[in-house]
């Protein structure tokens, strides 16, 4: 049996900061896994440093963060900066949660590739990841 493209893509789904609302993160992690991706879920209360360390250790191709706390303008740029410092800026960073539309251009300029807002279906997320997160290694 040949491996699908999805099976070559490793993803980290993470919750950063003090926010404990993990309903969305767990649904997305599971939907991505069910779509054939290899998914690592960080669990709660991670720092940006912890997320980046796990991402590098697990050699992931993409990081998806769920943020409902209003701290997105602090946390996304910090993760992107840490990835750059570790020469891993090719890891695709995307996210979702309660993120006002007006904050999205700034986040995208900082290097966040996509933001999913309330009402997005799991299929939209899966389709976007299939199209936009290539395997890095090899």
């Amino acid at each position: 049996m040949s491996t699908t493209r999805e099976q070559n893509v490793r993803l980290l789904v993470g919750k950063v900061g003090l926010d404990g609302h993990d309903r969305g993160a767990k649904i997305i992690a599971r939907a991505l896994r069910d779509a054939g991706f290899e998914v690592i879920y960080t669990g709660l209360h991670q720092t940006p440093e912890m997320v980046v360390a796990t991402a590098l250790q697990e050699d992931v191709d993409g990081i998806g963060l769920s943020l409902l706390s209003g701290a997105h303008n602090t946390i996304f740029p910090k993760i992107l900066r840490l990835l750059t410092e570790k020469s891993s800026s090719d890891v695709v960073v995307f996210g979702g949660g309660i993120i006002p539309e007006e904050d999205i251009p700034t986040l995208k300029r900082a290097g966040v590739r996509q933001i999913f807002t309330p009402g997005a279906s799991t299929q939209e997320v899966v389709d976007w990841v299939k199209a936009n997160v290539p395997p890095r290694r090899r």
């Binding site: 900061g17 939907a31 896994r33 209003g70 006002p100 799991t122």
Partner: protein, 563 residues
């Protein structure tokens, strides 16, 4: 054929329904089938096309309903319900600094709100100070930032604490924040026995759903039982625990799971207090509940009615409480935040109205209605006012308050109430078999059940099997795009600066002694509340007080999450 018993009503109606199904119904469905093969609640409970006396066979109104203000309280905890007194309209508020929130409190009180409800920011909820590295970016965002008694003094400035009732939504550090409230009362010269209010103080649902914890379950329960003992003695009108299903539902549970896990948490607290040597009659009347009001109108009404009936049985039969006051389930309700949509946000007013109506038909004691913009941000003054007016329109214009428990006796509502009751008992039995709610949590049982339900629901929405208007049906490009209430970038550095200045100015000796005493008490069986109160008076911060206990109690870590 003439029935043998001479045609007593039950037999006639029973034959009547079969007849109807085989004739009138069959012919109608033959010509035009029903819209769906199966009709279910939002929680996937199957719903029949018709309910009739057959659904209530053997149903005894005396046992199942009783009268309002009497056990089993299915019809409500007060004999006159809203004819005597309307529910408390309690809108949750808190953002930015204590000063910002104090202004909002004055605004709400001037507009007819009858109780205050404080939302704290995430660092405070997690027992961390505003200058904690983990607090970065989160200070004052989702609620008000409270570090020390000084912030609490500002929060309640100009609000006499003997004239309002205050609900504080905080859990892991609840004892600390309550101590701050008591210290403000002391400064205002208000005797503690006059204080009325609630702290959420429900750590079990944190492990299950909201995930804002500090210590492991066992020391957490010890802090709670200490606080319950202290309040029973010194702050007798305070509601010590608000046992909360709201967050369980928001995390994606079904209505039946919300009901069952909440009541199981309640059992856990009563058990812990009894084991700590407290008299059930002394503390049980001060326990209150907090449920969600979601979209499915009748399911929510049935849930609240069933909750009262089951709790009454639990307190009478399991804990052998003697006083009817110990059997009563009094509850606050909040409309379902997770049901709001960013798409076509004005529609949320309609959702909230229906949910609020369900809460009222279900006999709630107090209610928070969400604002239409809360899916993206904290509400503005305008949207918060519409939310409050929604309650006032139901109370003053709709007429639903004119009689007690108006849906009682409805075949459907009573059958659904019985069904939810049965679901609750089944789950409580499973949890008992695991050794109680704490072992069940440690095994991840409620967490798994909720994750399953939430994933199933999302799949149903994605497949169009469950409809969300404006999202997967009747969608058009009309989204709520921006955070309506802005939390300025100056809030965090300002709060951090105030905390640092306070640390320099406080009585260092008193502060050190107070924290040392607290840590020592944590190592013994001494009630923690007096030491916490003294630390608060010495202007120790939330982070310092929780930190002192954490050195003894340790920190909770969630086990591996199975996807």
């Amino acid at each position: 054929m003439k029935p043998k018993n001479g045609g007593r009503t039950s037999t006639v109606t029973s034959r009547g329904r079969r007849d109807w199904e085989e004739t009138t119904l069959r012919s109608a469905v033959g010509k035009k089938p029903e819209r769906k093969k199966e009709f279910t609640t939002v929680s996937n409970l199957p719903i029949e096309g018709l309910y009739s006396p057959e659904d209530l066979k053997g149903w005894d109104p005396a046992a199942k309903l009783g009268f309002p203000g009497e056990p089993p309280f299915t019809r409500g905890v007060h004999p006159t319900m809203y004819r005597g007194r309307l529910w408390t309209m309690r809108q949750f508020a808190g953002f930015g600094t204590a000063e910002d929130t104090n202004k909002r409190f004055h605004y709400l009180l001037e507009h007819g709100q009858t109780g205050l409800s404080v939302a704290f920011d995430l660092p405070t909820l997690m027992g961390r100070d505003s200058d904690d590295p983990q607090a970065e970016g989160e200070v004052g965002r989702e609620g008000v930032a409270i570090d020390t008694l000084a912030d609490m003094e500002v929060l309640f400035k100009g609000i006499p604490l003997d004239r309002v009732s205050t609900s504080m939504t905080i859990n892991a550090p609840a004892a600390v924040v309550l101590a701050m409230y008591l210290a403000v009362a002391e400064k205002q010269g208000v005797p503690l026995e006059k204080l009325e209010g609630t702290v959420q103080n429900d750590i079990l649902k944190e492990y299950i759903a909201q995930k804002e914890w500090i210590y492991p379950p066992s020391p957490s329960l010890r802090i709670i039982t200490d606080m319950v003992a202290f309040c029973t003695d010194r702050v007798p009108k305070w509601n010590t625990i608000s046992i909360s299903g709201y967050h369980i539902r928001e995390a994606g549970s079904t209505a039946a799971q919300e009901l069952a896990f909440t009541l199981a948490d309640g059992i856990g607290y009563v058990q812990a207090c009894v084991e700590a040597g407290l008299d059930v009659e002394a503390f049980a009347p001060r326990l209150s509940f907090f449920f969600n009001a979601h979209n499915d109108f009748f399911e929510e009404i049935a849930k609240l009615r069933a909750a009262r009936r089951v709790w009454c049985a639990i307190m009478r039969e399991r804990f052998h409480a003697k006083s009817p006051r110990s059997w009563m389930l009094r509850t606050h309700v909040q409309t379902a935040g997770c049901s709001l949509t960013a798409q076509q946000p004005i529609n949320n007013v309609v959702r909230v109205t229906l949910q609020a109506l369900a809460a009222i038909m279900g006999g709630t004691q107090s209610l928070h209605t969400n604002a239409l913009d809360e899916t993206l941000a904290l509400p503005t003054e305008d949207s918060a006012r519409i939310a409050l007016r929604t309650q006032q329109i139901i109370a003053e214009e709709s007429g639903v308050v004119n009689t007690v428990d108006p849906l009682a006796g409805s075949y459907f509502v009573e059958a659904l109430t019985d069904r939810l009751e049965q679901e609750a008992w089944n789950t409580i039995r499973r949890i008992d078999e695991m050794g109680g709610i704490v072992p069940a949590i440690e095994q991840g049982f409620p967490q798994r059940e909720i994750a399953e339900a939430s994933y199933l629901y999302q799949r149903q929405v994605d497949a169009g099997e469950k409809i969300v208007v404006g999202v997967n049906r009747y969608a058009e490009g009309d989204n709520l795009r921006s955070a309506t209430l802005k939390i300025g970038p100056e809030v965090e550095p300002g709060q951090v600066a105030r905390l640092k200045a306070l640390r320099k100015g406080r009585d260092k000796d008193r502060h050190t002694k107070a924290l040392k005493r607290l840590e020592e008490n944590a190592r013994t069986k001494e009630n923690l509340m007096p030491a916490i109160l003294e630390a608060v008076r010495a202007y120790a911060s939330v982070g310092e007080i929780c930190g002192a206990m954490k050195t003894v109690f340790g920190a909770y870590r969630e086990g591996k999450v199975q996807l």
